[in-house]
Symmetry: C2
Subunit: 321 residues, 2 copies
Amino acid sequence: MSTRYALGIDFGGTTIKTAIVAQDGRIISRGSVPTGMPASPEKLLATTADACLRQVEAARLALTDLCGAGIGMPGTVNQETDCVEYANNLGMTSFPFVRKLRDALGIPVTGGNDADLAALGEYTAGAGKGASSLMLVTLGTGVGGGIIVNGKIWSGCNYAAAEFGHMVIEAGGRPCTCGRRGCFEAYASASALTAQAEKKAAEQPDSLIGKVYAASGHVSGKDILTALKEEDAAAKEVFDDYIYYLGLGITNLINIFQPEKLLIGGGISNFGDLLLNPVREHVEKYRYSRYSDRNTQIGIASLKNDAGLIGAAALTGIFDR
Amino acid sequence: MSTRYALGIDFGGTTIKTAIVAQDGRIISRGSVPTGMPASPEKLLATTADACLRQVEAARLALTDLCGAGIGMPGTVNQETDCVEYANNLGMTSFPFVRKLRDALGIPVTGGNDADLAALGEYTAGAGKGASSLMLVTLGTGVGGGIIVNGKIWSGCNYAAAEFGHMVIEAGGRPCTCGRRGCFEAYASASALTAQAEKKAAEQPDSLIGKVYAASGHVSGKDILTALKEEDAAAKEVFDDYIYYLGLGITNLINIFQPEKLLIGGGISNFGDLLLNPVREHVEKYRYSRYSDRNTQIGIASLKNDAGLIGAAALTGIFDR
């Protein structure tokens, strides 16, 4: 039996990551190139195709050794037309990126939204393996995510579902980049956490985060984590507040969808049990289904930055029986 | 070709409705009996079985003419064990109601949550017919609903999904019966609308709703509708506020799930275009996918009180090709 390989591509605003993924889910070779923004869609396409060819070469394979490629894009990818319909950060609208990449490589290429593919990756080979249904909530610069139903990405009628960050949880609350006020993203993103920490740091210059802020002019997620471990009261106050909103939003998602598993990913998931335990407590207390025998299991995503690459490879069907 | 029939049962806190539904979706005979609460689960079962037998008799049919029965219950129905796991208003916990009804009738009986079945009904024979995915949001005493994915009810890992009313939209806001604060239900239910109208009526006794309130001691949904048509400023203020929250919650659901159709049902759906137009405007303005070519169509559920009966009948498979 010959081993089969797929090419996974994670196209981000800063870097384009590529990987050769084996049938057993292992990444056998990986690389990344700068996206090189700003650039025209045609230029981005050429950069991507070139990165793919180099990746295949680096793995000492030929394109004919691959069953295909999958690519995750930070935007809406229409799988019927193989167009990127809308990718705000790339300045891309209705551009047939996936189709053109297929033409350039001469192998099957399938595209999807990057957050959806991260969810598919976790379902395929990560903490969500085997779950009949899954929600991945990613806490990074923004709040995004993906939904898996019966082993497939659920992206709605227009490939735009799972925008968990744009669920209003506090009507009239903090402004959001999307034009609404009180979006989950404005409370539960890494950016929201650090912004609140900096506010608190300025108010309490003698606290641990206050000193970090005075010295460096900002407070990072890592600074907050360190301060929490050293029991800094100011950091704890900010974090408790953050957890309250995070727990609230996750409880909402569970009340709506009741997935078998809900995974927390993104940079903030590095807080591990410090995050997971109080979120679980909040959800346990407030979910509508608290009397059910069975309830959504909440965990931390396990594939970290590889989730998108694995999910992209999964689009080729390489992991299907 | 002989016509086939199914028995649909809509088990509510006040009445148990029954109907004989033909293969083409028509209700050919219907009836209802008082639920007779408070009553033991065994007593409720006997009442239901009796109502079913009478309904079959009234249609001049025999049980053997039916392909089966479906029953919607106001609670969590486990379709693997045929138990009602939890039905707060019936005081029922882990009771094998569906299994026992099957034993009593001697025909196949399948059970489900009443709101889920209303969604299935709308999908099968109502305003959601043919939609690849559907959300039904019911605005009644509470706010409930159902999700249809690929022609099937999505009820999550524990038959408890689609509790749209228990999505917090205003952290720390109005108290909800579920123990949380700021739930969608506390803003978008019929009860919330009339409560706000009564508050406003007390403040503005010279308004139209103020006069109704002074005369009768309460303001009904119908009173508000009448007052709106007569351009009563107090009623309009209350209703605009209601629409704001309703639009906000519906936008949330669309950002999360992007169904092909989202239908509004329940008593408040009788407001028709007065409700639908401003909700559509709100969603159009704020949905995250406003740049998509394709977007969720928002409409009013069409089967009204029959949705649950038709959905219950659909559980028997009578409408399947």
